[in-house]
Amino acid sequence: MILATVGTQLPFPRLIRALDDLAPSLGRVVAQIGDNPETPRHLEHHRAMEPRAFDELFRQADRVVAHAGIGTLLAAKKHHKPIIIFPRRAAMGEHRNDHQLATAKQLESHAGVYVAYDEQELERLLRLPDLTPPDDTPGMSLRDLQGAIREFIVS
């Protein structure tokens, strides 16, 4: 199952439309669409979801598609699910600036994180048979940060 989410703050019609077009050929796709202006025709969709229900879908998903929201990224890491990031663009009125593009570029090198900069890449990544899940052990970066905090506290 593919789980898609746009977060709770802003709708993301371009992502939902792309997924809706692809849904009939992708198997089960469940999407949290927020305040999307259009009603999807093919997607199994929810405007918003209870945290518990959302967690359950996360567990069932074999890949996650999302805007470049950090909350979703952290959840994908926690649940050990490959995530495809489709960043919002300011030029298309999807966010007030292009910080999601900057986030996506920074995250591209992380294992288990895939970035689609346009609808073609999105389709390609959705159809790839095997995506690597993110590491579920704490990364070097997290251990370094914990170490710095610890050192400060005990000093």
């Binding site: 929201g69 950090i70 909350g71 990224l73 952290l74 890491k77 600036n97 910080h99 900057a102 986030t103 920074q106 995250l107 992380h110 704490p138 990364g139 070097m140 970066s141 997290l142 251990r143 370094d144 940060l145 914990q146 170490g147 710095a148 905090i149 610890r150 400060f152 506290i153 005990v154």
Partner: protein
């Protein structure tokens, strides 16, 4: 103080008393990813939402009001609420991953003689949050989670929760 915080046990003779404060959502998730940093400390958590501590397995938390600068009256009441929690916790170290209530906790902690740590949210990729920029004036350890946002005068980068 709220009823939730009355159930918090103080452990005598533990390590430094740490008060870790965060808003709900991503801020809290990040704080939880960092909790191993407090091993051996007498740590108390404060959150803007009841039940988060229990759900994350760290026990009851103090509850602090949620607010941001757009609502002056709520902010005023929020300041008082945070001040009471910090006062009651008597921390040696106050740490926050944001947002505004965490900043206020650092300010109050500082006034009461605690050392302070600000960890700007990993969501702030292009620039620090407003709270994070203000925190730079008072935090003894001022951290960004993005290398490109670090500056010689701070914030510093020592890794990220990613």
């Amino acid at each position: 103080m709220t009823r939730e915080s009355e159930g918090i046990q103080q452990v005598a003779d533990a390590g430094p008393r740490v008060l870790a404060v965060s808003s709900s959502g991503g801020h809290w998730e990040q704080l939880m990813l960092l909790r191993d940093s407090f091993d051996g400390c007498d740590v108390q958590y404060a959150a803007t939402l009841a039940g988060l501590g229990e759900r994350s397995g760290v026990g009851a938390t103090h509850i602090v009001p949620d607010f941001n600068a757009t609502r002056p009256f709520r902010t005023m009441m929020g300041l008082l609420g945070v001040a009471r929690v910090v006062w009651a916790a008597r921390p040696n170290v106050v740490i926050s991953t944001g947002a505004a209530p965490g900043l206020i906790a650092l300010v109050v902690g500082k006034v009461l003689g605690a050392r302070t740590i600000w960890i700007d949210s990993v969501a702030n990729v292009e620039r620090l949050s407003l709270s994070g920029r203000i925190a730079g004036r008072i935090a003894d350890l001022w951290l960004t989670q993005w290398r490109h946002l670090a500056r010689p005068a701070g914030p510093v980068y020592h890794g990220a929760v990613l």
